[in-house]
Symmetry: C2
Subunit: 339 residues, 2 copies
Amino acid sequence: MPPRRHRPTLKDLAARLGISESAASFALNGRPGVSEETRRRVLDLAKELQWAPHHAARTLSGITSMTVGFVLTRDVREFGMESFYLRLLTGAQSVLSTRGYGLLFQMTSAVDEELAVLRRWSEERRVEGVIISDLRRGDPRPAYLKELGLPAVLAGGPDPKKLLPCVTVDDAAAMRLIVDHLRATGHRRLAYVSGPADLLHVHRRIAAFRKAAAGSLAEPGVIGTDYGDEQGLAATRWLIEAPVRPDAVVFDNEVLAVAGVRALRSAGLSVPADISVVSCEDSAICTALQPSLTAVQRDPAVFGEAVAAKLLRLIHDEPVPDADAQQPNLAVRESTQQR
Amino acid sequence: MPPRRHRPTLKDLAARLGISESAASFALNGRPGVSEETRRRVLDLAKELQWAPHHAARTLSGITSMTVGFVLTRDVREFGMESFYLRLLTGAQSVLSTRGYGLLFQMTSAVDEELAVLRRWSEERRVEGVIISDLRRGDPRPAYLKELGLPAVLAGGPDPKKLLPCVTVDDAAAMRLIVDHLRATGHRRLAYVSGPADLLHVHRRIAAFRKAAAGSLAEPGVIGTDYGDEQGLAATRWLIEAPVRPDAVVFDNEVLAVAGVRALRSAGLSVPADISVVSCEDSAICTALQPSLTAVQRDPAVFGEAVAAKLLRLIHDEPVPDADAQQPNLAVRESTQQR
DNA sequence: GACGGAAACTAATGCGCTTTAGCGTAGGGA
DNA sequence: TCCCTACGCTAAAGCGCATTAGTTTCCGTC
């Protein structure tokens, strides 16, 4: 590996052209103070020498760091096949990069670790703002970010204390869509295999499910899991061994749904003939499976784009639109059928 | 949102303690030149005021930027459900963060865009090194990185021109594992639904497959796809409509495999009774499906860890071990059965 | 009691850039 | 003719830190 080439500095440019550093700086930044001819010469030379401003130097002299952070606290084992986060990241990143922002990514395994990362990033002035997600009950992050004064957007709010702006999907509406569909197609005993209830969005979904399905609830109506496929299997088995078997099961994401379908099959039940299945999260696997799974659609990439856009507005002190709720859509597929 | 708190600087610390900036700097960086007592006072005050070194200032004064980049050029549509990259990212990130490095992530949609990103990062001195992946035939990146003098590690090599160090999985060995297993279980007409052949690892797999399966090849033996599930469906249909139907099909990843199983089923064929199926990539879905899929196992997170570790060695001019080939393992599951 | 030397600091410089203030020169209006 | 302004540019300061070269004080030593 050759030694990293000595990068030309502004001083080099200026010296080669016999002008001052400031003139070069003006020229390169499109500010007044230099003649058009000088500007051209500077730009040409800069291109020739492959000059680019030193990021740290720029940041130090007051320009922002042009970086946004994204911390994700997640049990690594849970990352089985969920594609949600990568797609979210993809979307956020695409908006950021077109605006010249970089995305600093870090995963942590616990909330206090995440707090430490946020704090370090803030103190080091390494990021202009951050994206956080997966708010839990009593989550310390919104207040902490507020205290740090670090711009932040919550992917998947809302924040109950309204400390942070957020981009959210209307979880209750999504759940109503599902339940309405199931009832309209003749289902009368609905069950829901949810994620961990201390996740706020799960909590909202459970509440919405209970409310919407009132009168048509199976017993048990809701079973919590850790989003892992083993618990998905177990929960489903439990449901079908209940005295009165549900005629439709809603799963919180596609991982659980896949596990559920498997459990149903190995119990000799057919989907959708015996039991209908719905996933609250869509992904390629829902259409690839047989039967394909009825699922709530929301494009995680679009979601990520909205989050990033909102964060940039926040960073630039532009007015931030209040609630950015993506309206969910239900893709009805083969796994639900008229009773 | 309260205004971002004014961050204390070294000067502030020094002033409050009545000492010079340099003394404070010495104390904070654990170098000699200050008494233990002064050091304590500085450290205490720093903690009290939540002082942290300004990242840009540090970088500017010669300390490295403590950042590593990861660019991914990928057709966004292909990100259906592949979890590989998120897991790779997870692994790399975990190693980096324990060493205090940040991970700058960017996705691009074409190779020349990626080159531009790499160049900008290098010129701006924004990253110390980068991770790249998915080398294609005639890929310009290794030479370009060499020219930039930017440390880089290839995730999933080897680089045919040996310009870049890499961490690799022995693709040929993986393919031999598969083929040996299939032959040992009595399969005699093997077919392979691969990814795009201009990806080098796909190319290697195809060659290895052709060689290992010589004498037991179906006709057609290999069909290329774009990794999308539609082409997976089409390729599989084509295979089973061939005059002599294969008795086992190898799919390049789980996305293709899932699509393939679906195609087989809808053609009235049973897996594994009529046709065995193997996936070259494992993920939760392979075990969740029914039948569960026999697949080559390699932990993308471990892979990512190895890549990051290697990059750090490279950055620090430590000797870089030559070939870091992860030995693949074949998880035999329900989708392959004795003929 | 003078001297070498370590210890504990301070002063000053530089990293590469942005920005403000300042300084000639040319042109235009009175 | 003189003044005022606009222009094109230079000089200098500053961002926050690391680091090197000095400076002072104190100690042990012969």
